[in-house]
């Protein structure tokens, strides 16, 4: 093996790797969270950041931003946007989009070109979608309040969901239009103009793709490119380094799963930009094809295919964000929860419990925040003769050990006054508030 200019840096025990031992005394080298952070994302837009990729990425800002940041101190809104990485990206791209739209509209007006004008309308709608995403990205950092007791962690998921639905609707509409045009055989006119417009649009959207690409690290297929860019940055292509990457990528995936904070907002925006890019590419390809083979069906055919692609890519986003909005407990957590729950009735002084309800706490989206906290509600029945405060603390501490923070109501055994019905029959369950009543809602 030839000389390696840079040994794999993770080996130094101080940085990113923790050496430990298993129960059997075998040495274990575990990548620590620092390592995940640096491996999680590297902005492809700024090439110089590859060199010092091991810095904490919260301070990784482009020179432009560092120049801009002090200037915006006076406007807190803009400052808040620029400080956070996600919102900064959206903001820059929105500005780019907006500027392009203005130029397009101006030239369209001057040259009386319909294609330019209608494309600038399209651009405007993109800007609106970006603005919604920007708002969600900023709002997600707001603290909880009386009105929003659990903070705004869900707003990004909500925005992602909306974006996904929007994309689905758009692609359905495009499909309909494509059908219509294939049947009618309407001709596309002004090919040259269309070509130029869509090429420009493609360029702008490619910039957006660069900015937002790689971002949804919960994804499946993007991990590969992570490792690649990482390796390229360090100029070491030997085999074991690669292997090493494989290992920690594997770990990282598990981490991302447990973290479950893959950002649906950015994913939605990414898909939106992707859809636009594909759309412009389709127009370019179809104009070229029409130029050579005079068939009116190229354009609708291309747009139909693109629409199908968009639809397929938007569906997983909608599904995952819908799950989170429905407060579904993910499977891994559900498993541990199922193990944790029966332990409660084994605690001293607990005669029974009821209406346990848990949901995921996404108040802390910060990096250092403990992931996977559960919040919840539970009613516990204290056995006769036990101290209710004692029971409360015992159960709460037990659940806190399992990183579940609940609001706990302690009732005395035999007390049937509460709606939860725990006291009515021992080991009763949450469903039994009379079904006739809940049916009458319908």
């Amino acid at each position: 093996m030839h000389s390696r200019p840079s040994l794999p840096p993770p080996l130094a025990p101080s940085s990113h790797w923790r050496t430990g031992s298993t129960a059997g005394g075998k040495p274990l080298i575990t990548p620590t969270s620092e390592n995940f952070k640096s491996a999680q994302y590297e902005p492809p837009a700024a090439p110089e950041s590859h060199c010092h990729s091991h810095h904490s990425h919260s301070v990784e800002r482009s020179k432009f931003t560092t120049l801009l940041l002090p200037a915006t101190e006076r406007w807190p809104i803009v400052h808040a946007i620029l400080v956070e990485k996600d919102s900064r990206r959206i903001f820059y791209f929105m500005m780019l989009n907006f500027g392009f739209m203005a130029i397009q509209a101006f030239y369209g007006y001057v040259t009386d070109s319909l294609g330019l004008l209608s494309d600038s309308i399209h651009m405007f709608f993109d800007c609106v979608a970006l603005a919604v995403g920007l708002f969600a990205a900023v709002a997600s950092k707001w603290p909880p309040s009386e009105r929003f007791p659990y903070g705004f962690g869900k707003i990004e998921t909500l925005s992602g969901f909306g974006n996904g639905i929007f994309l689905i609707l758009i692609s359905v509409e495009i499909m309909f239009e494509a059908f219509e045009r294939i049947i009618e055989g309407r001709e596309t006119k002004r090919l040259g103009e269309l070509f130029i417009v869509s090429t420009l649009g493609l360029l702008v959207n490619l910039v957006g793709m660069m900015a937002f690409g790689h971002h949804h690290h919960g994804g499946h297929d993007h991990g590969h490119s992570h490792g690649h860019s990482h390796g390229a940055g360090e100029h070491s292509h030997d085999h074991d380094h690669d292997h090493d990457h494989h290992g920690h990528h594997h770990e990282k995936k598990g981490h991302a799963h447990a973290h479950s904070h893959d950002n649906e907002n950015m994913h939605g925006i990414y898909l939106h930009v992707l859809a636009d890019t594909l759309g412009s590419a389709a127009v370019i390809v179809s104009t070229i094809l029409t130029h050579f083979w005079k068939w009116a069906g190229w354009d609708p055919l291309a747009s139909f295919l693109i629409a199908v692609l968009i639809l397929l890519s938007a569906l997983p986003l909608v599904k995952s964000s819908a799950k989170r909005l429905l407060l579904t407990i993910p499977e891994e957590i559900e498993y541990t929860l199922r193990e944790t729950l029966p332990g409660i009735s084994g605690l001293k002084g607990v005669a029974g419990y009821g209406v346990p309800k848990f949901w995921i706490d996404d108040r802390n989206t910060g990096e250092g925040a403990p992931a996977n906290n559960l919040l919840g509600v539970m009613h516990v029945m204290a056995a006769r003769g036990s101290d209710m405060d004692d029971v409360r603390d015992r159960v709460r501490n037990y659940l806190l050990d399992h990183s579940i923070d609940i609001t706990l109501q302690v009732e005395r055994e035999g007390d049937t006054s509460c709606w939860c019905g725990v006291g009515r029959s021992p080991l009763s369950q949450s469903i039994s508030h009379n079904p006739t009543k809940s049916i009458s809602i319908f």
């Binding site: 075998k26 209608s118 009386e146 929003f148 659990y150 074991d240 405060d389 809602i441």
Partner: protein, 520 residues
């Protein structure tokens, strides 16, 4: 040796990974009733196989070494003394030697283990009977490795309830539910008819968007109705702590996105048409009259498409009692509309109001022989698109707030005369929402309550809201007073925030009060 640790580190990760997996299933067979049953089954199976052989002979023959052999896989880690002083390199060499071996046979400094495997009669038996090693489960039963788990209460929550498939949903439907579904299909057919009869008229296209929206929400209502037949809808499990009822809110949110999208889409089409007609000044674009000649209804005749829209909207609203459901989905507070039309039946519902309004307009225009201008078409389209957009955003905000786990305090939309913009900022900033803070104040005014530490009010779905309170009490209250206080607090919340009488929706509040005594 420089690259050694990294290789070791990664290769170590691989074989270790399967180790912890089987343990939960074995140690806690009682967690999951299914797992317990499965375990039982395999156990019996091996026992019976034992009986068929000459049990005693086999066991006595295998006794001395086999004991250890059996002990080893499960108890290896616990039997072995912890050896932290062992240099890592030694252990790792050992690990490399056995690197690819199965998980239980990992590390062992003693070598009698390998002898067992190589010399014992186990080997000779392997060819004859499969699963030989498991035969020793009988021994382990004698030695009580696997004890019957202590009896535990059944789980309070089911882990997950089955989500019905389409077929199950279809078979579960009752007669009236099926009728509603059929009507929904009819409504959809009407919408398609309106859409295709538009023939280039933007106003008709816009109207068809509205009808499509009605169809969508009617379909949501039918789906909600059918899903209500299933337990998973309403009953909480670990997987779905609130059942699936929140899906209705989510579907409503998706519908509102549709409205916003439709509004945008229509506006952009409208703009394009205007641009085209402006661009038609250029001589080489013969676009004049494109929109004008597209759709033409004879003056004095009835426009069947608009009539169908009116009728289907009315039937959806009144017939088959679809009305109540649609209102429930669209319970977006519209103070100005309800103040203009107090109790005006279905017109109080903004969405019905919109559809009815515009389809009547489309119906009337040819009847009263108003010539159908292109500009009128565009104006109507713009009006529909604008109102769709406004209503869509309002609906999206109302439902988005619910999805964000907040309580929007719908009761105060009645009495407060503030404009929508004010309320929006109020809700976004999270300022003092009058009702919730009033309730908190009222709770704090209770004599036994020292202070309210935390108060979380949020709405789960249309029919359920939760109030989670952490209350600090003054000292010296006994059980009965605590119980009374608890029910009093629950009553306060339900009465103040539960929607009042005659408003149709009954919002149930689940109140949980965690009580601390001051000084703890």
């Amino acid at each position: 040796m420089a690259a050694g640790p990294s290789e070791l580190g990664t290769s170590r990760l691989q074989p270790l990974a399967p180790l912890p997996l089987p343990t939960p299933a074995i140690v806690t067979p009682d967690e999951d009733p299914d797992a317990g049953a499965f375990f039982q089954f395999t156990f019996d199976n091996y026992d019976s196989r034992d009986d068929s052989d000459s049990t005693s002979a086999a066991t006595s023959q295998l006794e001395p070494n086999n004991h250890a052999a059996f002990l080893h896989p499960h108890d290896a880690s616990s039997l072995r003394p912890p050896t932290p002083e062992l240099p890592p390199s030694m252990a790792s060499e050992d690990g490399q030697a056995h690197g690819g071996a199965s998980a239980p046979a990992l590390k062992n400094p003693f070598n009698f283990q390998t002898q067992v495997i190589s010399t014992s009669p186990v080997k000779s038996n392997i060819g004859q009977r499969r699963g030989h090693r498991y035969k020793h489960s009988s021994i382990s039963a004698q030695h009580q490795f696997f004890q019957e788990p202590p009896p535990r209460p059944p789980p309070v929550l089911p882990a997950s309830l089955p989500v019905p498939t389409l077929k199950e949903a279809w078979t579960s439907m009752q007669r009236d539910q099926r009728a509603r579904l059929y009507w929904c299909c009819c409504h959809a057919a009407v919408a398609v008819y309106v859409f295709f009869s538009a023939e280039g008229s933007l106003a008709m296209t816009a109207l068809s968007h509205l009808v499509f929206f009605d169809v969508g929400s009617a379909a949501v209502c039918v789906a909600v109705d059918v899903l209500g037949n299933f337990e998973v809808w309403r009953r909480s499990s670990i997987r779905h702590p609130f059942g699936l009822q929140r899906a209705e809110v989510l579907a409503g949110f998706a519908m509102s996105v549709f409205l916003v999208f439709g509004g945008f889409d229509l506006l952009s089409h409208n703009l394009k048409h205007i641009l085209e007609s402006v661009g038609a000044h250029a001589p080489h674009h013969p676009h004049v009259g494109h929109a004008g000649t597209a759709r033409y209804v004879n003056p004095g005749t009835v426009d069947t498409a608009s009539l169908a829209a009116v009728v289907s909207t009315l039937v959806s609203a009144y017939g088959l009692r679809n009305h109540g459901r649609i209102r429930r989905v669209m319970r977006v507070p519209l103070p100005y509309l309800t103040s203009i039309l107090p109790g005006a039946g279905i017109l109080a519902n903004p969405f019905h109001f919109l559809t009815m309004c515009f389809s009547f307009l489309m119906l009337l225009l040819p009847l009263v022989s108003i010539p159908y201008f292109v500009w009128l078409d565009r104006v109507i389209c713009a009006a529909i698109a604008g109102s769709m957009f406004v209503l869509g955003t309002r609906l999206a905000i109302a439902q988005g707030l619910m999805l964000l786990m907040s309580y929007s305090g719908q009761a105060d939309f009645n009495n407060s005369g503030s404009s929508g913009a004010e309320k929006k900022t109020d809700s976004l900033v999270g300022g003092s929402s009058s009702t919730v803070s009033a309730v908190v104040r009222e709770i704090e005014s209770e004599p036994q309550v020292a202070r309210v530490d935390e108060a979380q009010f949020w709405q789960v779905h249309y029919g359920l809201a939760m109030a989670n309170l952490k209350v600090c009490l003054v000292r010296g209250s006994d059980d009965s007073t605590l119980s009374q206080l608890r029910s009093r607090l629950a009553r306060v919340v339900q009465n103040r925030l539960g929607e009042g009488y005659g408003r149709g929706g009954n919002l149930r509040w689940e109140v949980t009060v965690q009580m601390n005594t001051d000084g703890n």
